[in-house]
C-alpha cells in the first residue's frame, strides 16, 4: 500500500493516496505559491504540471522558488501556451498543446506523461492544473467538468495526488462549487497582513481554522 502524501512546510496533515484538492484563492494572496508548495514531495516522487497560461520556463521558476528541483527523470510539464513553448529550456519532459481550449489534447498528453513516468519506475505522482479558472474562460462548464472529473479519476486510479488551482474572483460561485464537488477537499487561501493564510475543508483530520502559511521558509 502506498504511503500518504505529506506537505513540507504547510500547516496541513498528510492525505491519502488518490486524493485531489481544489486550492481556491485570489491570485494576489499567494495561492499559486501555496499550490506549488503542495507539489513538493519526497525525492522519488514525480510531478506533472499542466500550465494553462504561463510558459514552462515560468513554471520552472515557480518550482525553484518553492525549493524544488525539476528533473526530467521525474518531472513533466504540459504547456498550453502553444508552440512558443516548444524550445523551452527546462529540466522536465515537455508536451505542448495548441491552447487551453484543447481539453482533449491536454488530457491525452497528461495521460501519456503519467504512463511514461510509471513505466520508468516513478510510482507516486503529484499532478497540478494551474489553473482551472483559465480552462473555464476557454471552454463551457460542461466540458471543463468532464475534463476535471476524468483527471480526478486518473489521479485516483494511480494513487496520485491532485492539486487543482482556481481563482474564486474569476469564476462564478456556482461553477466553483460544481468543480469542488469533483474534488475530495477544498483548500482555501486568503491574504492577512500581507501574508497568506489557509484552511482545509472536507477532509477529516485537517484543521478547518485559518492558519498562517510561511512560504518557502
Amino acid at each position: 500500500m502506498t504511503e500518504d502524501y505529506t506537505f513540507r512546510g504547510l500547516p496541513m496533515a498528510s492525505v491519502l493516496p488518490g486524493t485531489t484538492l481544489l486550492v481556491s484563492g485570489p491570485s494576489h494572496a499567494g495561492t499559486r505559491e501555496v499550490a506549488y508548495s503542495m507539489l513538493a514531495g519526497a525525492e522519488d516522487e514525480g510531478v506533472v504540471v499542466v500550465t494553462t497560461n504561463r510558459r514552462a520556463s515560468r513554471v520552472a521558476r515557480n518550482f525553484e522558488a518553492a525549493s524544488m528541483r525539476l528533473d526530467p527523470a521525474r518531472s513533466a510539464i504540459v504547456s498550453c501556451v502553444g508552440q512558443d513553448d516548444r524550445d523551452a529550456d527546462v529540466d522536465a519532459r515537455l508536451a505542448e498543446v495548441t491552447g487551453p481550449g484543447d481539453l482533449t489534447g491536454i488530457g491525452m498528453r497528461y495521460s501519456k506523461l503519467v504512463e511514461e513516468l510509471h513505466r520508468d519506475g516513478v510510482e507516486r505522482v503529484r499532478t497540478s492544473v494551474v489553473s482551472v479558472s483559465t480552462l473555464l474562460s476557454f471552454s463551457d462548464v460542461q466540458t471543463v467538468s468532464r475534463f476535471v472529473h476524468t483527471l480526478v479519476g486518473r489521479v485516483g486510479s494511480i494513487d496520485g495526488l491532485g492539486v487543482l488551482l482556481i481563482d474564486p474572483d474569476a469564476v462564478d460561485e456556482r461553477v466553483l462549487s460544481n468543480v469542488a464537488q469533483f474534488c475530495d477537499a477544498r483548500v482555501d487561501v486568503r491574504e492577512r497582513d500581507d501574508a497568506p493564510e489557509m484552511r482545509v475543508r472536507g477532509l477529516p483530520g485537517q484543521s478547518r481554522e485559518w492558519t498562517a502559511v510561511e512560504l518557502y521558509g
Binding site: 481550449g101 484543447d102 482533449t104 491525452m108 501519456k112 467538468s145 472529473h149 476524468t150
Partner: protein
C-alpha cells in the same frame, strides 16, 4: 455492461478483446467506425455500451470522431483512445471539447487498459456532472421504488397541476434521475419525456439539501449554453429532491416558468411539502407492490428476526 472494442487490425483487436475478456469484462468487438456508431446508437445486437475502447486510425474515420459521436448519443460513457499513435500526431484541436482517456499501445499496455476500463466504468469518471456519494444505493432505490413509472405518471400529474396553480407558475413535473437520463413524469404545462442527465438542472438539485432555485437559467453559467434546456424554453427552475424511504434522492419535484422569476421563502417551504408528498407516494406504492409480490428468495421481506441464523 458492455465494452465496445473498435480496431481495424484483426490481430490487435483479438488481442485487446482477449485481455478484456480475461478480466471478466463482456466485450463486443467491431472493425470500423460505422459499425461502432451503429452499436452506440443501439442497433439491437447487444447490451448498452458502458465503455468505448477505440484505435485512432480507421479506414472510415478516426477514433476521436467516434468518441465525439459517443458524446452526442451517450455522453456519460467512458471512452479510451487505445492507439499506436502519439498524442502529438493526433489532431485534437477541432475536437478539443470531446475529452477522453488515452493509452498508448505497447508492452504491458493490455494490463493498464484493463485497469483503466475497470476503474472508469466503476467510478463513472467521465460524466460531465458530479455524482452523489451514494449513487449506487440511489440507483438501487430507484429500481425498487419505481418499478413502473407509467403507474406513477397519473398520480404525479395531479400533484403537479395543483402545484402549478398554487405557485401560479407555468409548468411542473417530477423528474426521476436514473443512471444516464432524467425521465419526466406527471408533466404539467410542459411536454418532455426524457433528457440526458448532464443537461438537466435536477442532476445538480439532487446533490443539495432543500430547495434549488435558478431564477434565470440564461444567467447561470452552468446552464446558459445548454441547448436541451433552451429547447424546452424554460427560464426559471425550482426543485426539491424527492427521497426514497432509505433517504436517497431519486427524483426532484420541479417548477418551471418560461420567464425569469423568484420564489418566496413561504413558497419554498410549500414546495418541500410537494416533494415530501411525492416521496410518500413512491414509498407507499413500493410497499404495496412488495406485499403483492412474493419475495423471490422465499423469505418474507418483513422477516427481520435477528435470532434467525444464516441460511
Amino acid at each position: 455492461m458492455t465494452v465496445l472494442c473498435v480496431d481495424p487490425d484483426p490481430d490487435e483487436r483479438a488481442a485487446t478483446v482477449a485481455a478484456l475478456e480475461a478480466a471478466g469484462l463482456p466485450v463486443r468487438a467491431v472493425d470500423s467506425v460505422s459499425a461502432a456508431r451503429d452499436a452506440l446508437d443501439g442497433d439491437g445486437n447487444g447490451d448498452v455500451v458502458d465503455c468505448l475502447v477505440t484505435e485512432h486510425d480507421h479506414p472510415d474515420g478516426t477514433g476521436l470522431d467516434l468518441i465525439a459521436h459517443a458524446r452526442e448519443t451517450a455522453p456519460d460513457i467512458a471512452c479510451v483512445l487505445y492507439t499506436d499513435r502519439d498524442p502529438a500526431a493526433i489532431d485534437t484541436v477541432t475536437l478539443g471539447d470531446t475529452v477522453a482517456e488515452y493509452l498508448q499501445k505497447g508492452e504491458g499496455s493490455h494490463d493498464r487498459l484493463v485497469e483503466l476500463v475497470e476503474f472508469s466504468v466503476a467510478t463513472r469518471s467521465q460524466t460531465a456532472y458530479p455524482l452523489p456519494d451514494d449513487e449506487d444505493a440511489r440507483l438501487a432505490a430507484l429500481d425498487r421504488f419505481v418499478a413502473d413509472p407509467d403507474e406513477l405518471d397519473a398520480t404525479f400529474a395531479r400533484l403537479t397541476e395543483i402545484a402549478a396553480a398554487t405557485f401560479d407558475i407555468d409548468a411542473a413535473a417530477v423528474g426521476l434521475v436514473d443512471a444516464h437520463h432524467e425521465r419526466f413524469l406527471g408533466c404539467y404545462g410542459i411536454d418532455v419525456d426524457r433528457m440526458d442527465r448532464e443537461d438537466t438542472v435536477c442532476t445538480y438539485a439532487i446533490l443539495e439539501e432543500g430547495v434549488t432555485v435558478v431564477e434565470d437559467l440564461h444567467e447561470d453559467p452552468r446552464f446558459a449554453d445548454n441547448e436541451a434546456i433552451d429547447g424546452v424554453d424554460i427560464r426559471f427552475y425550482a426543485g426539491v429532491p424527492v427521497t426514497a424511504p432509505d433517504g436517497s434522492k431519486i427524483a426532484s419535484f420541479c417548477l418551471y416558468d418560461f420567464a425569469p422569476r423568484s420564489l418566496s421563502t413561504d413558497d419554498r417551504a410549500l414546495l418541500e411539502l410537494f416533494a415530501a408528498e411525492a416521496g410518500d407516494q413512491l414509498a407507499l406504492r413500493g410497499r404495496l407492490r412488495e406485499q403483492e409480490t412474493p419475495a423471490v428468495d422465499g423469505r418474507d421481506r418483513n422477516d427481520g428476526d435477528p435470532t434467525e441464523g444464516e441460511g
